[in-house]
Symmetry: C2
């Protein structure tokens, strides 16, 4: 009989794996990564890998290392993001760039990417090494596209979705897909889990955008209105701009143009976005992607792991 | 009969390959990399790959793509180095960080690493993908070690050599080794070429250190005394400090401590290093590593490619 694990057990297993098994040849880099891991995080990407492996008949415990690489790719991109965004904090504690400086942070991120690929190419058969390097390329491509889209009030939902599919959803897709490959699942299961990851990831990013408008600092661990301050064109903003409120559009254009970072300006724009109905429209879009994620699982056999994946997707609609 | 190519032909082939075949999915990143490639460079790493392939019985033309990846790994590290070092220029033209900003530069370097691994994992059999990712890890490890060694007047030759073996020689070693693997060479030839690359790379870095003390800006495309300004402890400086000149030691310590960047201070220290005999000692060390590089080739059959590798190593002793 295949051992089944509750979701809380998966989280504990991943944490224990990091505590006991993560180390690199370079002590400074190991320390930087350990601090980033200690700052928390929901470990959703490794969770998808383990649940994907279980939903295809495997055992989570046997794929902890592969799952950990998914989180470490995420951590490496966060280390570089904090350099790129000049972020002082991450998850409520000092960013790597703050504690170690930009120089070490750039190199630590590079080293971590290389260390992951070094291990993955040594331990996993094709196509896993290729999927992970293609995923990292997609993430960077998406981030460059996002930089170029900053402040663009004419950004369409399709353009937004293309950026998000690359910068965020690609790693969720790879996490789920690799879990299936690791247990030798067939193409139908692999495709199902890849699509699940993509749709889940898009919905996840949309919720992240939404929380930037609605949650308080203690909940999300970063300042509210942060996306606006960085001139990121997020999904609630796109819906709000499409609602035809000319006053709001002028307000946002002026805010993006003059770098006005006063809290009042952000609060006024946030209120305008709320009044436009954009938050409801965002929740509807999230629900659509979450439904597609759940529907994608149809080819898989039923069972606790598949049920847990469904629950994770549905949980996004409750945010 | 195996086709043999003159060294100038190899350079032209690599250039032509970049012009005709290099492109990524992201136009901004493609442009950044093309500019870096257009700025020049001796293409020594791809040259080692092609000569290694030929010296093991292969044909250079058939391995241009693999050779190009060696140069592209180098280019990606340079893009990040210029962010880390806040360098305004590279090879006499604007650095990527200057033209595109640090944000795009960090992401462009990441994308390029990922793009290389994506292609390498799709097109080359083990152990080539693993060698390249392990090499990138070694380069980053070496660069972090170098950052930590900055300003350390007690750095030993062994510590210096460890840093250089990682940050510089590892890619030369991989370039030569992968050329051998690509043509299915046996372990003796693979080891011979790897050792050649390591020794060549160490000698190459020592010459680079030497030129920082002796060459003028137009020759090396960067300011003379740049290493001193960055508080890098290079091989001529180590030899000079070991020569026992207390005055020079105090001078260097003061220079490193107070960030004095006046040309007079650099000129005075450079003169002190020259008078200590450190440049001659550096040339002797270069000659030793170049000799080991040549000696390492003994297991290979004679022929034009091996002769050209020997010529490249000996050329370092003439700098």
């Amino acid at each position: 009989m295949i051992e089944r694990l509750a979701d809380s057990d998966l989280h504990a297993l991943v944490e224990e794996f990091f505590r006991s098994s993560f180390s690199t040849d370079n002590p400074l880099i190991t320390e930087a990564v350990r601090r980033m891991l200690a700052a928390g995080g929901k470990r959703l990407r490794p969770r998808l890998t383990l649940l994907a492996a279980e939903s295809c008949g495997g055992t989570a415990r046997e794929h902890l290392e592969l799952a950990a690489y998914m989180e470490l790719i995420h951590v490496a991109t966060l280390i570089h993001d904090d350099v790129v965004d000049q972020a002082a904090t991450r998850r409520g504690v000092n960013s790597t760039a703050t504690d170690f400086g930009n120089r070490v942070s750039v190199l630590a991120g590079d080293y971590l990417f290389a260390w992951i690929f070094k291990n993955v190419t040594a331990r996993y058969d094709p196509p896993i090494p290729h999927i992970l390097s293609a995923t990292l390329a997609a993430i960077c491509d998406g981030e460059v596209l996002q930089l170029r889209a900053m402040g663009r009030l004419d950004l369409t939902i399709d353009e937004y979705t293309d950026v998000v599919a690359k910068k965020t959803a690609s790693l969720f897709a790879a996490s789920a897909e690799c879990g299936a490959h690791a247990v030798g699942a067939g193409p139908a299961s692999v495709d199902a889990l890849r699509t699940f990851g993509t749709e889940y990831g898009i919905a996840f990013q949309m919720i992240d955008d939404l929380l930037d408008m609605t949650a308080d600092e203690t909940t999300v661990g970063k300042p509210v209105g942060n996306d606006l301050r960085e001139r990121k064109v997020t999904i609630p903003l796109i819906f709000a701009l499409q609602s035809g409120d000319a006053h709001l559009r002028d307000d946002v254009r002026a805010f993006f143009a003059d770098g006005d970072e006063r809290r009042e300006a952000i609060a006024r724009i946030a209120t305008g976005i709320q009044q436009s109905g954009a938050l409801t429209a965002t929740r509807t879009a999230v629900a659509e992607h979450a439904e597609r994620a759940v529907a994608a699982l149809a080819p898989l056999a039923g069972g606790p792991a598949r049920a847990e994946l469904e629950r994770l997707a549905k949980a996004l609609t409750l945010a």
